[in-house]
């Protein structure tokens, strides 16, 4: 895991000039390089393409639509990079990246735009879950695919930001602060969204368990 970037900074005029350490955005060097030479945006693209694509797959439930949304997201990000503002805070954690949050906000808008024009197909997520490649261990693969299908089903029934918050938490492993920034909500609201999402998932899983018994 990459170490957090740190720099020395001094307090404002009048305060004791004691150096202190301030966190910098994890992607600062890559962002600076891409700003100086847009051809170097490729490093940021390769770092985040899978995450953005993954987010789009969960939101749209279709690989082709997800590819299209991913493409639009990165083209928009490249065009808007000169306007990107780094807003890293110490409380966001060691691995926080305001660039990632900014990128996911763009992805969220792109996805929302596509969803407005194109209705989600409810059967698609299940198809995707079943399309996971088979490893050599067939028995384990069956169990994993069943678990994936169950999880997919449970999450897919969640609505709007509740689903997004759960996906960002469990698939992208974002912190509550990062999810709050992506969804433009307070951290408390995100905690409640995830909590309620888990309650719904628990209900769904319980229902499936009773259905089998």
């Amino acid at each position: 895991m990459a170490r957090p970037a740190l720099r020395k900074s001094t307090r404002p005029e009048g305060a004791a000039a004691t150096p202190r350490l301030a966190h910098l955005d994890l992607d600062r060097s890559l962002v600076d390089a891409a700003r100086a030479d847009p051809a170097r945006f490729d490093a940021l693209y390769r770092k985040y393409v899978a995450q953005v694509y993954n987010f789009a797959v969960y939101e749209l439930g279709d690989h082709h639509e997800a590819e299209d949304a991913t493409e639009r997201t990165f083209l928009s990000a490249l065009a808007a990079l000169p306007r990107f503002e780094e807003r890293a805070r110490v409380e966001d954690g060691r691995d926080a990246s305001t660039f990632r949050v900014w990128l996911f906000r763009i992805a969220r808008n792109v996805v929302a735009e596509r969803r407005r024009r194109w209705r989600r197909r409810p059967e698609a997520p299940l198809d995707l879950a079943l399309a996971t490649p088979d490893p050599l261990d067939v028995e384990r693969a069956v169990v994993e695919r069943e678990a994936a299908t169950t999880a997919w089903r449970a999450v897919d029934r969640l609505t709007g930001d509740r689903r997004r918050a759960v996906i960002l938490r469990f698939v992208h492993e974002m912190s509550t602060a990062e999810i709050a920034a992506v969804l433009e909500r307070s951290e408390g609201a995100v905690r409640v969204l995830i909590h309620r999402g888990l309650r719904s998932v628990a209900k769904e899983l319980r229902g499936r368990g009773e259905g089998r018994a």
Partner: protein, 153 residues
Amino acid sequence: MTFRPSARDGEIEAFVVDRYLESLLAREPRDTADIPVDLRQSADALAAGLPRYHPSFRFVEALSARLAAAAVRPAGAAPRDPMPAAIVELPRPGRPGDAPGGLGQVRPVVIGGVLTSAAISLAGAAYVAWRLNRPASDPMIRAVRAVARARLI
């Protein structure tokens, strides 16, 4: 004073669950005594069960190439910057009986340097006409002109 235990309890539980998720996703699950069993099981199922999808290699490379092309393009330029084809309306020969302003009277708009070249062309045409109609002094020139006229007719 109104006391709403359910909402407050929900917020506290949400906070406790959040702390548990933090440790779960850091692969260091902490004490789960405060977490309701069904919520813990749901969290474990999602953490283990939700698949991660990776885009195809072909797509990643194709988009990388598109981004590289977009990066070298000047800001504000269209993705493919085709030169718009100019539509020039050619003058049509006027026919006797055409109404003024009708199809036979369409005039091209002449701008800038085109006017100069058109003027030179007119002068050239007048010069050639004068040369052809000038009486020739040399018998050889007269013979050549006679042959040329015969071919034209």
